[in-house]
């Protein structure tokens, strides 16, 4: 019988899933780091804060896959091994046999669950009612009553409207991310990875804001469980269109290594991760994914069998833009009239318009930025087109990393805004792009388990961020 992962907010009253989780976290923190199922080892697998390497386990840490089509399958394996380790600990503590990881559905409609955007109650307070330490608390940005500042736009599920797991062109990143080899941190995020995944990391902040400490926060696992569930939801929403890659490189050619509940190596490929009931102990999600109505006609051309046109550059900034201060404004010179090739084709106007932030490089842990567009000199308020999520930017900007430090590239579909601003017309307007820094709050320091050495500080240094180019593409 496969385990059932449930929504943390739908756990029935008196359910002890989170109590057992907290107790297991305490135990796992006390395990020696040399044990692959210890809290510190498992956290460092995602990103090593600054632990000296373990000679017996070369290449076991700094494994998380980001900005790649391996993001989803790697994290699925990571969650399953984690779930197995916690379940084993729960069993040893006298708990139920089949502990399953709950998920945090922060995107839930607030009329159904007014608390959805807030941290689940068990994670909010530093101490338990009896005054003892709460192992589910971790250093995070100040969050009174669990309110980490998640707004509706931060937890948008627009990613579920993507038609392709990995797009044919290197332009966008599709639902699941671009075609790459092993990629600890790379160039462009898949849509699900960008939002809500990266945005939620940044908003919780503290440990969660840095890939080298993120997995040490117990909420990390409920967040990723939700991302994993959304992958299932996306596939079930349209089983014909929403398919996983069939490329041998994705399926079989890259093998990842983690450790199972008995601390033995667990090797897997993406092919081993496609059916959740076959992943290690096997699991399913409590809600049978409902087919969702896909807004817009994004997949129209694909569905009619015509290959999609490669998006074409229609405007770009004059150079790189450094994001200093709370608000930075830049201009994109539209060259539509001169460059539109779709006038040569049968299409009278572009079907889609994209704003792409290219080669975004940075250091430290910079804030996220809301991205707004408007026309210079008009009286309308700017339109919000998305959030520039900077989670992992330092790693993606490291010249020694897999992709040579090219930074992040993020794509926003601005078709609606472009129509309202007449961006696709001949008389090339000047597009103004504004970056508004999302408030970063002070991080509440915390001791998760008393008597345990604190986590070494990852070397972050001063935060900085620069957008290599802002570009508008027509498709």
């Amino acid at each position: 019988m496969a385990r059932i992962r449930r929504s943390v907010y739908d756990l029935p009253a008196g359910d002890d899933t989170l109590d057992w989780y907290r107790r297991a976290v305490e135990v796992l923190w006390q395990e020696p780091i040399s044990r692959p199922t210890s809290w510190r080892f498992m956290g460092a697998v995602h990103g090593n804060p600054n632990f000296p390497p373990l000679p017996d386990f070369p290449g076991s840490w700094d494994q998380c896959q980001h900005q790649t089509w391996f993001f989803l399958p790697w994290h699925r394996g990571y969650l399953a091994t984690f779930e197995a380790a916690v379940a084993r600990t729960v069993r040893q503590l006298g708990g139920p046999d089949e502990w399953a990881l709950p998920y945090w559905n922060y995107s839930e409609d607030r009329t159904i669950n007014p608390e959805a955007r807030f941290l689940p109650p068990a994670f909010r307070e530093q101490t338990l009612p009896d005054g003892t330490n709460n192992a589910l608390f971790a250093p995070r940005q100040f969050a009174p009553g669990g309110d980490v500042g998640l707004r509706d736009q931060d937890v948008s599920l627009a990613a579920l409207n993507e038609f392709e797991f990995t797009p044919a062109f290197s332009f966008g990143s599709g639902f699941g991310g671009p075609r790459t080899g092993f990629s600890h941190f790379g160039q462009s995020n898949g849509e699900l990875e960008r939002a809500p995944h990266n945005v939620v990391h940044g908003r919780i902040g503290g440990w969660m804001g840095n890939p080298n400490t993120a997995a040490f926060d117990p909420i990390f696992w409920l967040h990723h469980c939700n991302i994993d569930r959304l992958w299932e939801e996306w596939r079930h929403a349209d089983p014909q269109q929403h398919t996983n890659p069939t490329d041998g490189l994705w399926l079989n050619d890259v093998t990842f290594r983690l450790h199972d509940a008995d601390d033995r190596p667990f090797d897997f490929t993406s092919a081993d991760m496609v059916d959740t009931t076959q992943v290690m102990h096997g699991y399913t999600y409590d809600t049978i994914p409902q087919p969702i109505v896909v807004a817009g006609l994004q997949g129209g051309t694909e569905m009619s069998g015509i290959p999609p046109l490669e998006p074409e550059l229609a405007g770009a900034s004059e150079g790189a833009i450094r994001l200093d201060g709370a608000r930075t404004t830049s201009r994109v010179v539209m060259q539509a009239a001169k460059t539109r090739s779709f006038t040569e084709s049968a299409l009278p106007t572009p079907e889609r318009t994209y704003l792409r932030l290219e080669n975004v490089v940075g250091k430290g842990v910079p804030a996220d930025f809301d991205v707004l567009v408007d026309l210079e000199g008009d009286s309308e308020p700017p339109l919000v087109v998305g959030v520039l999520a900077t989670f992992g930017i330092a790693k993606a900007s490291d010249p020694d990393a897999e992709h040579g430090g090219g930074g992040l590239t993020q794509v926003f579909d601005i078709t609606g805004a472009a129509e309202r601003l007449n961006l696709t017309t001949e008389d090339a307007p000047l597009l103004r792009v504004t970056f508004e820094r999302v408030e970063q709050r002070a991080v509440t320091e915390a001791t998760m388990v008393p008597g345990i050495d604190p986590l070494p500080e990852p070397a972050t240094g001063e935060a900085s961020i620069e957008v290599g180019r802002i570009a508008v593409y027509f498709e």
């Binding site: 290449g59 290197s170 080899g181 092993f182 050619d253 990842f256 150079g319 001169k338 040579g404």
Partner: protein, 270 residues
């Protein structure tokens, strides 16, 4: 990264045409440019190899003689100008295809009317670097062969050069350069700035490329090898470039086959 590396990229995957080569894309200057240059280079190489005297690049190192005698002999057989011309043709033939993935990316980030000039500028920059290192590369080749000749050890010198090129596969500098290859530029500003910037990008790409491929090219030219081995080397370097995650061990193995075959040619020469 030994662990994640436990994954292997199946050889047939490397030989599959990359996803970006499709009908519509072939009209792209980023594909057409380097391919034309490469075909041109190969044509020249084939023509010269068929002509009287053949290619100086392909000759096996001569018999034992003094250092200066060997140098004089090498320069007498093929004057420096001819050798440099051959190196240029070799760079066009073998290296231009390696610029292809980067140029496709550059082109996709340019306004359509600027694609052709930007790609050609970048390709020119790339080839300028490769031709520019021709002189020092040839000087090194002549010197290495002369040393081999002076010590009656042409085969040993060729083997040493091959071993150095294989060890180079594992060096951090080379791996870093391979990663740099994947950074896509974001050309911005006026048309002139975009085209000029593309030229600079081509120079940078060429420099990175010489760091990655230079030692293998040099080892091959010290041993002296025919066109089939040059073609094989091109194929390996291109396959390596197209792999999402190149494996230094695999690269060294594949390059080893080519370079050691070339060395065998020297050792077995009458």
């Amino acid at each position: 990264m030994a662990m994640a590396g436990a994954g292997t990229t199946a050889p047939n995957d490397a030989l599959r045409p990359p996803a970006f080569i499709n009908g519509a894309a072939l009209a792209n200057p980023a594909l057409g440019g380097p391919l034309t240059v490469s075909v041109l280079g190969w044509t020249v190489l084939v023509a010269w190899s068929l002509a009287a005297g053949g290619l100086a690049l392909c000759t096996t190192p001569g018999p034992s003689a003094g250092f200066m005698t060997s140098v004089r002999e090498q320069l007498y057989l093929a004057p420096p100008a001819r050798q440099i011309a051959e190196w240029g043709a070799m760079a066009m033939a073998m290296m231009a295809p390696l610029a292809l993935p980067a140029l496709v990316q550059l082109s996709a980030r340019c306004y359509r009317p600027l694609r052709l000039p930007a790609v050609l500028m970048a390709l020119a920059g790339f080839l300028v670097v490769w031709c520019g290192i021709g002189l020092p590369a040839l000087a090194l080749t002549v010197a290495a062969r002369a040393v081999g000749s002076a010590f009656d050890a042409v085969g040993t010198v060729a083997l040493l050069a091959a071993m150095a090129a294989l060890l180079w596969c594992r060096s951090r500098v080379r791996i870093r350069a391979q990663r740099r290859c994947h950074v896509v530029p974001a050309p911005a500003g006026s048309a002139a700035r975009i085209i000029g910037g593309s030229g600079l990008y081509g120079l940078r790409l060429g420099l990175t490329c010489t760091v990655i491929c230079g030692p293998a090219m040099l080892a091959l030219s010290v041993a002296g090898a025919g066109l089939p081995l040059m073609l094989a080397l091109t194929h390996i370097l291109l396959a390596e470039r197209l792999m999402p995650s190149p494996r230094p061990g695999h690269s060294a193995l594949a390059l080893g086959v080519v370079l050691l075959t070339a060395c065998a040619g020297v050792l077995l020469a009458p």
